[in-house]
Symmetry: C2
Subunit: 463 residues, 2 copies
């Protein structure tokens, strides 16, 4: 059968299938809440996954949230808390009755509790830790002792390990007799007598091997040990780059203290991406469920930075007010040069920021990339110079104006390619997140250069 | 120990740890290639993972690439091909001798071969399919018969399944006696007599349960079946939202045809993110290893769209040339209003595009989000109106000019919030990727509104 012949689901069906949470379901749930019909609410929520319920809570109004949670009461599941965004999470915790909260938290794994409490205020954090059993509380407090954003915060302490000299049969018997296996695990970790991990045996491989086979002979080729203080960003990179499913975490002495599984790494990767996209757009942290005041506060600083750069560009224009007064066409055309430079610069900078994040832009190829971006700027500059010269000539009937426009366009697009690459690379060298700060710098450069080149050429050439 | 007391690795150590591929290693390898020292090259490459070797090949020059591959010869591993970016992959395949290529491809799993050949030209594709054994070739060709970007292309056909009435002991015995278990699997899939999947039993749970326990009683709570034609984007969403590790894939009749594992989903998620970021910045597909010509071609259309919108903005300015000739200060200040609007619009639009991608912005909350963005625009508009009025007054000493500036700023930031949300939502409704097209529309709106409001008010108020 040919690929073209394959029926793709219609959009409607796809939506049906992909969204567990349809607007129709949301409306029905809000309806049940309004009528105070607890049984109907529970029936409607029953098929929903905790992640979908969390999405629902994020999408509705704060008053509806409170009403829903109070009506839902004891049905509230701990996993919903784990899935909620921070901004909504704190509010929801406040809505829960102490008994419901206690029950919800006790259901969770220790790494989920860590994730839940690490950004809470002291009193809320205490309230949650207090309901945990001593063993769990100790595990959570140990994890909290590791730096924020480190592997130690991400790992779960439950692991399955085996001495390096065991064979397959011993490992299987051990697991079958153990009464506290983790909820999710994919490897048996081989350890030496000092508890240093020396290899991973996948459960699949274990199943496929005879009982007498030594574990040592069937360890996976790919084996990475993660230091407990390693940055979670590097952990996510390793999982993504080497296709890891789980990896052992070790303390400063190299002793096994826990494991990180791919689902945790996937969440970190997702967050890093989100952060990059939002930072590139000059949106600080923030989510759709933030209130107006928080959102204004989050966006104001970035607009303020932009205001400063815009004023700098205006000051360049102000130097040429005499020329503009004589040739108003300059005022009409100058935003084009600046805008094209800004766009070309953003293109280069986005490619560079992404390449730095994925570690594809390194000391080994930085000069080649800069050279390429400058050449790309030159090529596009020449193309658009020609286009703009034609536009300028036919619009204002002046050959000189067309030449000035063309020259400024070439210069600005070359500078855009250069600045768009060099600025993020330099910021990265100084350990400033290039996604965070490059945009403002690059557009300042392209605005200033664009206005200066265009108006400067005009002053020399037209007067 | 307190979190603050924890020593974080210094940057140098972190780099050492996180980058298997340091510029030093790259330099040593290129050195060995230049000297034609095959043994040293092999020794240097030996500790590197296929993914790192692929990164290396992407970072070096095309001539170096050819020399390295020819020197490395038979050592070349099939997995390196899987890890390469498409643009470099085709070139590398061309550099490999037919025997080396054949050997490299035969090592791969069927889903990796699909990934490898699906975007190759017909002759290259044929050359690779020809070296496969008949069974593998049939599996690859079946996968290629599913639509591009569908679950069918992503899945592996190797699965471990068990009849629904089996118990733990039977499943384990079956696996231990099977001689063709997949390389990586995490679940035993329970199927009914018609081969419809009805549940997943995780290997960990299997290990933890007695031999007599029926499989049906220990299936995972979370179970999603993926239709073979489902879009890979929806597959990745499901894995991310529901923390799946693997999921069965079924054909139109609901029969089990394969499975998708989390590592494949993670790659898709990563690609989707990359695409979103690049599209938001007006960079088409493309990678750091593309040549200048390809890069120019990729970026030109986006700059051309921007040129059209910039010219539209200029045409608005041209309507007011008389006013500008009288008050040159207007030409100096007008880019500020447009630039602030453009930035605020980009903020709103990025948040909206992300929220649509993560399905947090739905029919249920779209009006609330639009309302919020407009209010945020109003609040920031008022703040910056005040600031700019002060700047305008002290810079040009004119109260009227300050009032015009402030009024235009408020209007443009409100419109930015509105356009930044409504435009991506509408594009999404019409099945146009909002990441792709929103930027140009939104900045057109903010430029046109910014210039028109500012110059229009000035024309009325200052003349």
């Amino acid at each position: 059968m040919d690929a073209e012949d394959q029926p793709i689901d219609t959009e409607a069906e796809r939506d049906e299938d992909a969204y567990a949470l349809s607007p129709k379901v949301v409306a029905a749930i809000l309806d049940a809440v309004e009528e105070g019909d607890r049984e109907r609410l529970i029936a409607l929520m029953e098929p929903l996954h905790a992640a979908d319920i969390a999405d629902l809570l994020e999408q509705i109004h704060s008053d509806e949230r409170r009403a829903l949670i109070q009506l839902y009461d004891r049905e509230f599941d701990g996993e919903i808390l784990s899935e909620l965004e921070e901004s909504v999470r704190e509010e929801v915790i406040g809505f829960l009755s102490p008994q419901v909260l206690a029950e919800a938290v006790r259901e969770l794994d220790s790494d989920d509790v860590v994730d839940l409490v690490e950004f809470l205020d002291e009193p809320q954090q205490e309230a949650i830790l207090d309901v945990l059993e001593d063993v769990d509380r100790a595990a959570v407090e140990l994890a909290l002792s590791y730096p924020e954003g480190s592997a130690g915060r991400l790992m779960q302490s439950e692991v399955v390990m085996a001495p390096e000299h065991w064979n397959v049969g011993q490992a299987i018997d051990h697991m079958r007799s153990s009464d506290r296996l983790p909820d999710a695990f994919y490897h048996v970790i081989l350890v030496d007598p000092r508890l240093h991990p020396i290899g991973n045996v996948s459960l699949g491989r274990l199943m496929a091997s005879g009982r007498d086979v030594p574990l040592k002979s069937i360890t996976e080729e790919m084996f990475r040990v993660i230091p407990v203080t390693q940055d979670e960003e590097d952990v996510a990179y390793a999982f993504n780059q080497y296709h890891l499913i789980s990896a052992p975490v070790v303390n400063e002495d190299g002793r096994l203290v826990g494991q990180i599984t791919i689902d945790d790494a996937m969440i970190v990767l997702d967050e890093e991406h989100e952060e990059d996209i939002l930072r590139l757009a000059g949106v600080g942290e923030g989510s759709l469920s933030d209130r107006v005041v928080e959102t204004v506060k989050g966006r104001f600083p970035w607009l303020a930075v932009n205001l400063v750069t815009a004023i700098m560009a205006s000051m360049v224009i102000a130097q040429f007010d005499g020329v503009i007064a004589q040739y108003v066409a300059l005022a009409v055309l100058m935003p084009i040069v600046a805008s094209m430079g800004g766009n070309a610069g953003t293109q280069s900078l986005t490619v560079a920021v992404r390449a730095i994040a994925t570690r594809d832009l390194t000391g080994s190829n930085v000069w080649r990339v800069i050279r390429r971006e400058v050449l790309v700027g030159l090529a596009n500059g020449l193309a658009f110079a020609l286009l703009m010269a034609v536009v300028g000539y036919f619009w204002f009937g002046s050959t000189s104006l067309a030449i000035v426009l063309a020259a400024a366009m070439i210069i600005n697009l070359v500078i855009a390619g250069l600045a768009g690459t060099v600025i993020p690379v330099v910021l990265d060298r100084f350990n400033v997140d290039p996604a965070l700060a490059s945009g403002a710098f690059v557009t300042t450069v392209t605005d200033v250069v664009g206005f200066f080149a265009f108006l400067g050429f005009a002053a020399v050439y037209l007067l």
